[in-house]
Amino acid sequence: MLTATDIGQIESFRPKRFAQRYGVDPLLTLFVLVTALYGLIILYSASGQSLSMVIRQGAHVVVGLGVMAILSQVRRDIIVHVTPFIFAFAILLLIAVLVIGVGAKGAQRWLDLPGLPRFQPSELMKLALPAMVTWWLTRRQLPPTISQLAIAALLIVIPVALIAKQPDLGTSIIIAGSGFFVIFLAGISWRLLAILGGLGVASLPVLWMVMRDYQRTRVLTLLDPQSDPLGAGWNTIQAMTALGSGGMFGKGYAAGTQAQLKFLPESHTDFIVAVIGEEMGFVGVSLLLILYALILGRCLVLTMRAQGHFGRLLSGSVTLTFFVYVFVNLGMVSGVLPVVGVPLPLISYGGTSIVSLLIGFGLIMAMQRTKRVLSGES
């Protein structure tokens, strides 16, 4: 039974006001939810019709949404204050991984502490690093000075180096990116940016020197996947074959031969978009891209609305990092970027990835809450 007042309230429903009052942004939540549901549907097919895997992933989403909602309630100034401690804690964990970590396939990425679920400390760093850089840069006026930038660079390089040593090239690049986005948004001068860019290009040979063999192979394979079709090129070739053979409308749900006959590697994790492309075609991938565009657009809007420089810089960095995830994953699967092991956000199977993404959205939401609401005024 709706009363006139109720109807009036419904008619006057404004997402902005709702978000600023209650923290949780309804539109972003909706987009994330739809994307995650789409992911669950695809996962059922990509996992070879494993219902248990879908249920587990569903649980990850629910937990993530819960954490997001809680985080969106936290006061901005508290977040600002705990940032250095979280960052220091994350650094400690990364060192711990190198010392007592566990892993597979030659990489040591996990921490298996008693009483806690197994997790990757690098996931924590994905948010701790941009927050820390933001914290550092917003202590002074923007744009930052050279000496501020030098410290910021150090804040980025230390965790990135620790992660790259695991080794986890994909994550370290993304984390470096998230730190860089803060500096970029903080207004680093274009000239300095150009100089840094030049230095970066110049350091590529050095990077090549420190890369592991398998990482080099991946880069070389990108340049010519056919050079080793059964070895390093296999993943790329099979993923492109899956995408390409899907055509406009795909081969039908759960009917993709590349995925179902296991020609496609990592079909439920990093390469899951190839399953979408094969079974749902260009239409299915486009739908996904539209969902991502909506999420990114909404994140941009929230960033614009974010309170204070800290809020804006952190929100902006999280948004851009999310974009990098999407771009790197799709680029890798479609064969324009090397295979670096980055999951497709909100779709790939894996609890840590989903939860950390949703924590990021929680932070964005927390950053746009107004003081008024915080103090309880209406």
Binding site: G244, S245, G246, G247, M248, F263, G277, F327, S334
Partner: protein, 628 residues
Amino acid sequence: MELSTGVREKHLIQNRLMVAAIGGACLLILLVVRLIWLQLIETERFQTASEANRLQTLPVSPARGLIVDRNGLILAENRPNLQLLLVPEEVDDIDVMVSEVRSRIEFTDGDAERFAKNLKSRRRPRDPVVVKDDLSESEAALIAVDLFQFPGLQIEARPTRFYPYGGLTAHSLGYVGRLSLNELQAIEESRYAGTETIGKSGVEKAYEDALLGQVGVERVETSARGQIMRSVDRDDPVPGADIPLHLDIGLTAKLYEALGDRRGAIVAMDPQTGGILGLASAPTYDANAFIGGISQAEYAALQVNQDTPLFNRALRGQYPPGSTIKPMLGLVGLHYGAVTWEKEISDRGFFQLSGDDHKYRDWKKWGHGRVNIEKAVIESCDTYFYEMAVRLGVDQMSEGMRWFGFGRRQGRDIQGDLPGILPSREWKRQARNQSWYLGETVISGIGQGFWVTTPLQLAAATTAMARRGNFIEPHFSVLEDVDAGSPVPLGDSMDWERMIDAMEDVLHGERGTARGAARGLNYRIAGKTGTAQVFSIGQEEEYKEEEIEERLRDHALFVGFAPADSPSIVLALVIENGGSGGTTAAPVARQIFDYWMLERNEGERAPDETYVSAMNQQVLGYGNADSN
């Protein structure tokens, strides 16, 4: 101032955000373009690649045709055989795999050796190698449970050639074996896509083309690990044709029984068609051992066996024909006028060429007295034929004998037979680069000297006698019953009948050389005995003395046919170091003739199974070096 700085900073961040958003949008567009290229423009290419991934075309091997005897008994069949196979390309560590297999099923050193040999032999890429043959159901089950742990290992029920009569048919049917490197280059590869074996010798080789059949094709959907998910479509293979033979397995068993533990060969032919009714070469071996690859030890045992069981004496044994050719040579002499039916000589036990002291001795020390050509055949008088040979001359002798098929390979579907030697001036010049001596003509007159023949040739020549002057090529299969033979243009039918009468007297006459073997005969046999000198022993010096003596003894030969006036069987047999043809070879022939004429029950076609298997045991037992 504070505020305006704050606003300026806010704008700075927002500007940068806009730049980033525009940059991001550009990158997203790049991705979309890439997706359009992949999914909408190059679709066909990737669909083809995807189908190629998914679908595999597998050859389906056709069932090899059966080989059946004249009564429809199966001599070569295909037995289901559970094999443990391994694709070496898919296995990381073969030794580990073998030890895993060893821990589950019985895997003897012999198995290991055979496997190692199979692994080494050349094969097409990805062709599976047999790890163990003939798995029992329970062994297969033990492996099958854990098969998923071992990529590259598979169990397959593949039909394998089986010869129910084993050693009895080994020298006539031959056997199939793994395709060798040379054969791989010679065959039409697509026809053998699903087949790993080929007829190596005998009938199996002669009729390879017909027995093979037509390969089928199955398209299957496979997973990335090569696991077959389902069959998409299938073209059934066409089984190979069955090959009916003239061979009578009951008679063949009798041939081996008659030979007993002696070394020798017997060829039995049907004079109506030229079909080979039976072929024995003793000792023999079990061809089934060769199918799955024989172990080195087994093969070595067969090879070093002094009695050479692998040697096909019937087709490749080259023996001096001795006196067995006298009836034919007599017809040649009559034809060229070297002798007449009336001509008589006085035999004092030897022959001498004028101006030469050398005495060419008759086997009978004091001679046969007055001898005409008939008596010369019946009593096998050597002196008569020495003299006739000199009159005839080597050129006419070899020209006439060529009509009987000597000195060349026998044609049709016979594989691997040797041509023997029919000596002539021409032959000696080419083969030895020497001129012909008259003395060599003399000894050729009694089938000695350079002259060597195979038992098969003797059977074919005797068949021409039985057919009263018509030569027909010997052959195994009824498929080769294609012509009526070619006339032997020597003399007229009276000459042939008269010569055959003389051959009958070899057994039935009072002074015939084989009269001892003819006691109590109630049907007529025409025949001729032969005793061939062994003159080359060479390297056998290291053998024991008694052994040398045994091996130096003459070969005993007999050729003949029965019934004499309308023959249904022709026999040619050689018993190595058997001594005299009359006392050793003729009684063996008698046993066989009796079986064919009297004991064989036409109504009851299959030979008694226990009898055949007992024969097989005896024959193979002899072939085994250890039991000697």
